[in-house]
Symmetry: C2
Subunit: 227 residues, 2 copies
DNA sequence: TCGACTTTGTGTACGTCATATACTCGCGCT
DNA sequence: AGCGCGAGTATATGACGTACACAAAGTCGA
């Protein structure tokens, strides 16, 4: 359960392609089964025993192919991420909006990815491909080279965490609003309170507009910067 | 380990202030001990047994005060968050930058907060106070009321996830760079590759500039919007 | 063709975890 | 004086990750 077990080993595993022929079990198969489980029942359902069981093997059999659970999860995350959207050839602004859109969809399709610990910087092939796919249109915006990475990180961070919020929101329903209303007194939270009475917080669980609006702010900022 | 056990109960616990007198153990004490543990050894070290042990009690004793571990963790998160920075009275731009600065510091001081599952929307008193403290200067920027919440969410999401990246980065050292270099071929990742050879990715573990730069882009966008 | 080595999967076992259930004690009230 | 209830304990259960020792089955050199 610790962090690594040699980060280098994990790295190699992420980029490994060939599978030894003489074995019914394979890294790819294990990872796929684990992803299916996570998609269906959440990350909590992914235990070595469950994954192995799903494949008709014992838990320990997995350890012949994967060094440990942390590594398996890392593989799952990169694999499930898949390929970034193809370039549309449109202007960089739409390209970036497309990217965010695709990332959003993919996070909502695999919400468990938002709960796995990463190594911070991108390391897997797919993770890197997504990063590249965001950098490319950004580079076309005329942004100075030394700020490219910073901006890409900022954008992808915002997308990711908004998706996290969107997927973590509990159905709650009316309960949450009522409880909040009791607690948000104008003396303690004046801005929030006025927003609440003015009805600006009606569409609460609706995180998506925050992404679009914020992203457009950034793109506006970018055009100012570079024009 | 499930999500809630009645979200309403958790909510009440978050806002509870009075403690029953006739008991050596208290919710406050438990939460404090758990926070100390998490600060010192990470969230992984926080088990009911460890926390209780630290206080000189058995694990089960905690259940007289806290419904379960998930609730304890929720309490820890809100408690550790503390109060937002006081208003400086400066212009809204600096106010927002101050806010981000303080949030950043606090995440780095309690990195485990970035790994606890929240309920999506803010619910605890401190969480709400931070949100309010961001909304206030934003409201002064002249931003339309209906976009206030969206913008605040966007900003706080970016800060949070950048902090997550910053704290998750493994010391790695030279290893990571070498391994990456082997794998980032210009044919597959042209933009990344050119950034790497141009040395623009030298300062890798340095996430903080991404926050400042991105934030300023947003603030620029805001001024364009509202002027 | 034979035997040794290697690779793959199994069986069992350990320590840790969250938490249910059933108890014991002692304080505060009547 | 005694009784009830609230606080803390003892013990147990089932799930977890994974170490270790083994077994079977395939590969390869002689």
């Amino acid at each position: 359960m610790s962090a690594d077990k040699s980060a280098a080993a994990t790295f190699r595993l992420l980029w490994e392609t060939k599978e030894s022929a003489r074995s019914s079990l394979s890294v790819g198969g294990i990872v796929e089964a684990a992803i299916a489980l996570a998609d269906a029942e959440g990350l909590g359902a992914v235990s070595m025993q469950r994954v192995a069981g799903e494949l008709g093997y014992t838990a320990m059999a997995l350890y012949r192919h994967v060094p440990g659970k942390d590594q398996l999860v890392a593989l799952m995350a990169d694999r499930a991420q898949g390929n970034p959207p193809v370039e549309s050839g449109k202007e960089w602004r739409t390209e970036i909006l497309n990217w965010a859109d695709a990332a959003w969809d993919f996070y909502l399709a695999h919400p468990w990815i938002l709960r796995v610990a990463t190594t911070g910087a991108p390391t897997g092939p797919n993770e890197l491909a997504w990063f590249e796919a965001l950098l490319r249109p950004l580079a076309q915006s005329g942004l100075a080279t030394e700020n490219l990475v910073a901006t890409a990180m900022f954008i992808s961070s915002a997308v990711r965490d908004l998706a996290r919020i969107a997927t973590e929101i509990v159905p709650s329903g009316s309960d949450y609003g009522n409880l909040l209303a009791q607690v948000i007194r104008p003396d303690r939270f004046p801005t929030l309170a006025s927003l609440m009475t003015s009805g600006a917080m009606e569409d609460d669980g609706d995180v998506r507009p925050a992404l679009d609006f914020g992203l457009n702010l950034i793109l506006d900022g970018l055009t100012t910067h570079t024009s």
